[in-house]
């Protein structure tokens, strides 16, 4: 699956997170890439909501690097912004976390690319202007993405 979505406000980005969160399964890793303020944490709030994690619990983990949540599925919210190398990520055991049975959301995923599984779901956030964002979603084909696509259909440009 490879699609582009247009988010014109933060609520759209949260909606995409919610739609994806609904179809996530244990062990799924979602790799998020995008500049500061592009909407990565907002997206994670949507995923958290879909997993039944009380709203307000999903906050930026830049400082703590990993926060863990208990929802319908256990969720690790990871932000590797502060790490300077893949070696540092190994030192804190991130390789074990992303290869476990938890759902993992990884902000600044490009910094630890080699540690992430090949079949992870990749989302890139492009800042267009003001609140406008383009989200590129890439994932290995799987029937469950049909449900996801039907929920975000209205955000596909030209649809």
């Amino acid at each position: 699956m490879e699609i582009e979505l247009l988010s014109s406000r933060e609520e759209d980005t949260i909606h995409v997170g919610r739609a994806l969160g609904n179809i996530l399964e244990p062990g799924d890793v979602v790799a998020l890439t995008g500049d500061l303020g592009a909407g990565k944490t907002a997206f994670c709030k949507g995923v958290g909501e879909a997993l039944g994690i009380p709203s307000g619990r999903i906050v930026s983990p830049s400082f703590t690097i990993v926060t863990e949540h208990r929802g319908r599925l256990p969720l690790s919210h990871i932000d590797v912004y502060r790490l300077s190398s893949e070696e540092e990520a190994l030192d804190i055991g991130l390789d074990e976390i992303v290869s476990g049975k938890r759902v993992c959301l990884v902000e600044w995923a490009e910094k630890i690319r080699i540690l992430l599984p090949n079949d992870c779901i990749r989302i890139t956030f492009h800042i267009l202007s003001g609140e406008m964002r383009r989200l590129s979603v890439e994932a290995r084909d799987d029937p469950r993405f049909g449900t996801f696509l039907s929920r975000v259909k209205h955000l596909i440009p030209g649809d």
């Binding site: 500049d35 009380p54 400082f63 804190i92 055991g93 003001g130």
Partner: protein, 332 residues
């Protein structure tokens, strides 16, 4: 009672000794102890491996600074959470081993609670008080009604206050983390030169939101006005927006709770503009403001030793099955 405190929840390894009658006897942070040279090479700051290298020399240094051997230590306190599990486990396992082999009581301290009471290392404050804990990882308000009475009133919905500063510093080319650099250059800037949004989130909200500020700073820096602006003015205006929200929300929460005392804690409590503004506005509002010295705002083990001393003196002791926890116990 004399307590050894150990803290390894995030970047630094720290150890301290606190005595009920003599106060703080030692307070050591890994960055002060030269272990790199001993083991060779420069290794990343941020790693469980680093805590493993630091924990023995840091604890030994604290015990020697306090002139205290195992025979005069009455208990061991350690940060059990929240934080990075791998890092926490280093301090926790070490503390458990000490408590077991020395046959001393053990206490697992909550990192946030330790910050909230850190003012007592320097002076006593009457209960109840309202605590604002603001750092790189947290921005929360608590009602503190006693040594066993901490209740969460609200916190950030996205970025922490310190994180807002650190990320702004990155945008301004001041490096990351750069909260201290913003504070420094903002002193030469005009805080009214640029306007940044303040997220109040409703009149009675004790929650915070700082992520919108990132976007407005990025937008400003892409305009001719921003590009041509003095970095000192931008930093000062940005800082004013963060400080304004922190101060007003804290004082409003105090008024709502009917509390006349406010205590600051956490790394951002060292920000000079926050310190001066909350003192000024607290004074106007008739609310007494208590500021810990800057050294005790950032992560340290003194606050862990103090909380351990209070709790163990009151008979609260943890078993050797004590475990580390990653997520905060104080949230909605």
């Amino acid at each position: 009672m004399r307590v050894l405190g150990i803290e390894s929840s995030c970047d630094d390894t720290a150890a301290a000794v606190y005595d009920s009658s003599k106060g703080l006897l030692a307070n050591v942070i890994s960055s002060q102890v030269p272990v790199h040279s001993l083991y060779g090479g420069v290794v990343p700051e941020l790693a469980s491996r680093e805590h493993i290298r630091h924990v023995v020399p840091v604890v030994e240094r604290a015990l020697s600074d306090a002139d205290s051997g195992r025979e005069v230590i009455d208990g061991v306190a350690v940060t059990a959470g929240p934080g990075l599990i791998g890092s926490l486990l280093v301090g926790l396992c070490f503390a458990k081993s000490l408590a077991y082999s020395w046959e001393k009581p053990l206490y697992g301290a909550d990192h946030l609670e330790a910050h909230i009471f850190s003012i007592f290392l320097e002076r006593a404050v009457e209960f109840p008080y309202l605590a604002l804990l603001v750092s790189g990882g947290h921005t929360s308000l608590f009602r503190v009604s006693g040594w066993d009475g901490v209740s969460f009133l609200g916190g950030t919905l996205d970025d922490a206050g310190g994180e807002a500063f650190d990320k702004a510093a990155k945008f301004l080319g001041l490096g990351y983390p750069g909260g201290a650099a913003i504070d420094r250059i903002a002193q030469r800037g005009d805080p009214g030169r640029f306007s940044f949004p303040r997220a109040w989130l409703g009149p009675d909200s004790s929650d915070f939101s700082f992520s919108g500020l990132k976007t407005s700073l990025r937008v400003l820096l892409s305009t001719p006005e921003g590009k041509g602006g003095r970095i000192e003015d931008i930093a000062a205006s940005f800082q004013e927006a963060v400080v304004d929200v922190l101060v007003r929300k804290t004082l409003e929460a105090a008024r709502r709770e009917g509390i006349l005392r406010v205590v600051l804690a956490g790394g951002v409590a060292a920000n000079s503009r926050l310190r001066s503004k909350i003192e000024e506005e607290g004074d106007t509002a008739g609310i007494a403001v208590y500021l810990p010295s800057k050294a005790l705002c950032t992560d340290n083990a003194a606050m862990v030793a103090l909380l351990g001393e209070r709790r163990m003196s009151a008979g609260r002791v943890c078993g050797l099955d004590l475990n580390a926890y990653a997520a905060s116990r104080f949230s909605r």
